[in-house]
Amino acid sequence: MPAGVGIPRALLYYYYYPLWKEFFKTLGCEVIISDKTNKAILNDGLSHCVDEACLPVKLAFGHVLNLAAKKVDYIFIPRLVSVAKGEYICPKFLGFPDMVKHSLTGLPEIIDVTINMRLKHRELSKAYTQVGKLFTGNRVKIWQAYRRGEKALKRYNQLLLEGCLPEEAFAVMEGKQKQSKLNSHDLKIAVIGHPYNIYDPYISMNIIKRLNSMGARVVTADQLPEEVVRREAANLPKKLFWTLGQRMVGAGYSFVKDNNIDGIINIVAFACGPDSMTGELIARSSRKAGQTPFLNLTLDEHTGEAGVVTRIEAFLDMVRWKKSQQAAGLGSA
């Protein structure tokens, strides 16, 4: 029977799932993802995680527990220290495997390999080799699995660049037809936020679908090429060493300049340190650069849907109002 490897549908799942899945599949494992976030998973996470952690980490606890209940043989929660040279991932990610191991009991074996590419990119393949050894002694096979994983990730990132959102991209990679974009939208709204906040429909109060149904097409930071993000983020007086924060700020700066973007919504998880700063940086640039309408939404486990809906409705009203005024102004001029 193949070994069952569980992957939590949380944290950087939305960045690396295609790689991880392909890697473990090639090694002959069965890949199991935790269920989509629901009230039970969130509550489980809240009651098992330390209070000081941020909402995404608490939620990730819930997903680990969900996998444990599925009786998987392993749970894959790599210790993500750094995924780019000279940069870091949030320290809460770094400590996540330890937090899990010390606060939860009766878990299957945890694969918590360290991924630290701060100094050398080569560290990445080393880390995967270490994981591969758990399942096979054949180094060629591990190498093949890693290469196939990388290829899958490349395809995934390409789909994002082509305008897919993660769920669509996952579906396309599973062989489903790419859905053509409906043209019934009159607005284009950029949604900026950590992938595990904005793409998780439960946590984000379904913001993407909600915006769609209110007539707005959504673009996100992850659909921008890496070069653009880095070029824009380089406008900061000092380099941001958070990889994720850099993507958000870089994307924010790029969206502010883009005349096709009608408004920017920044989604912040309550108790996220880096977010509190990146949000402000983007807000300032949107104010300075000539007023791309900007909305800041803070989410936590207590957030009522009503407050979010009211703000989104008011925001879209504001964007449309401004647009129609500009159109009228152009017409009369």
């Binding site: 807000a283 104010r287 809906v309 009211t310 409705e313």
Partner: protein, 326 residues
């Protein structure tokens, strides 16, 4: 006579206005919601019907406030709008050229920045209700003074005391402390107003460019102490529009008029709504682990609306049934 209804059902107050074709408010009703939005709205409609001539024709209805969806299905509204837009529309009509709207209601507060006649930015209070009407109410109750006299008393202050306004709980303990030390009541009240204004400007108004004309609306605008505190802190003239406490409802009426101008007949069920039997109920759906609390609104025993389900299983089912019936 023809005109439009604007309904604003909020956490603390339920407001209804009747506006004629010239955008004049002919009737306005301000009631305390007291946790009973359905009954209060019915009471308000009844009062309004009594004060309007029997020949009055309602050409459009707009609802806003946190119970806007509930009130919309009850009365048959043509427009359902969020509070920000409704307040902005009303402020623009009352004070043309307004650039800043400060709004403090029962449990929420907001700031709306307008430029060239459109909303350019806004913010609402987030996790904290310090500095809203409910807190002022509560403190007035604790100090044994009617809320209506709060503002006038605060104006008598000679040296307002400094009160920590960051948090309502701390503000209260700070006030008690100042009382025990022997400060005079007017000084404490004025100090509280200043603390609330600071809190508002630091939280809701953070980073916003406040330019004149400034309009202060919402129930708390009745408190002259708060107005003075804003004027002192901002160094700007603060306008309080005539209908300051029903601005949301006025905005909803204006939006209803705009919708009616497009030629659509109103969906208003008539003032008989006041005498109908409405009931609300809720149940926990067991369809998935989300366990959504679904709310059902019934009119004369027939379910007319459902919401609260994340997946749409219940709300959509009802919509389908209604399509089949009609």
């Amino acid at each position: 006579m023809t005109g439009y209804l604007g309904i604003d059902v909020g956490s603390v107050s339920t407001n209804i206005v009747f506006m004629n074709e010239d955008n004049h408010v002919l009737e306005s009703i301000y009631l305390r919601t007291q946790g009973q939005p359905v009954k209060t709205l019915q009471l308000g409609l009844k009062k309004l019907a009594e004060s309007l001539p029997a020949s009055t024709v309602i050409k459009g209805v707009g609802t806003t406030g946190s119970a806007r969806h509930l009130s919309a299905v009850m009365v048959g509204a043509d427009v359902v709008k969020n509070e920000i837009t409704a307040h902005a529309v009303a402020a623009l009509q009352q004070v043309p050229g307004v650039q800043t709207v400060l709004e403090i209601g029962g449990q929420d507060s907001k700031i709306i920045i307008l430029r060239k006649g459109v909303v350019a930015d806004f913010a609402m209070n987030t996790v904290c209700a310090a500095g809203t009407g409910s807190f002022l109410d509560q403190q007035a109750g604790r100090l044994n003074i009617p809320i209506e006299e709060f503002g006038a008393l605060a104006l008598k202050a000679r040296t307002p005391v400094r009160i920590a306004g960051r948090c309502a709980v701390f503000a209260e303990s700070d006030m008690i402390h100042k009382q025990q030390m022997g400060f005079e009541l007017p000084d404490i009240l004025a100090g509280l107003c200043e603390a609330l204004v600071r809190n508002y400007l630091n939280n809701v108004g953070k980073g916003k460019e406040i330019l004149e004309p400034v309009v202060f609306q919402g129930g708390v605008a009745a408190n002259i102490g708060m107005r003075k505190a804003f004027e002192k802190e901002l160094g700007l003239k603060i306008n309080i529009p005539r209908y300051y406490n029903v601005m949301g409802a006025l905005g909803a009426a204006l939006l209803a008029k705009e919708a009616a101008a497009k030629g659509n007949a109103t969906r208003f069920k008539g003032f008989r709504v006041a005498d109908m039997n409405f009931s609300t109920g809720s149940f926990e759906c067991s369809g998935c682990p989300n366990m959504c609390e679904v709310i059902e609104i019934s009119e004369e025993g027939t379910v007319i609306a459902r919401w609260g389900d994340r997946c749409g299983r219940w709300s959509n089912a009802l919509a389908r049934e209604q399509v089949q019936i009609s």
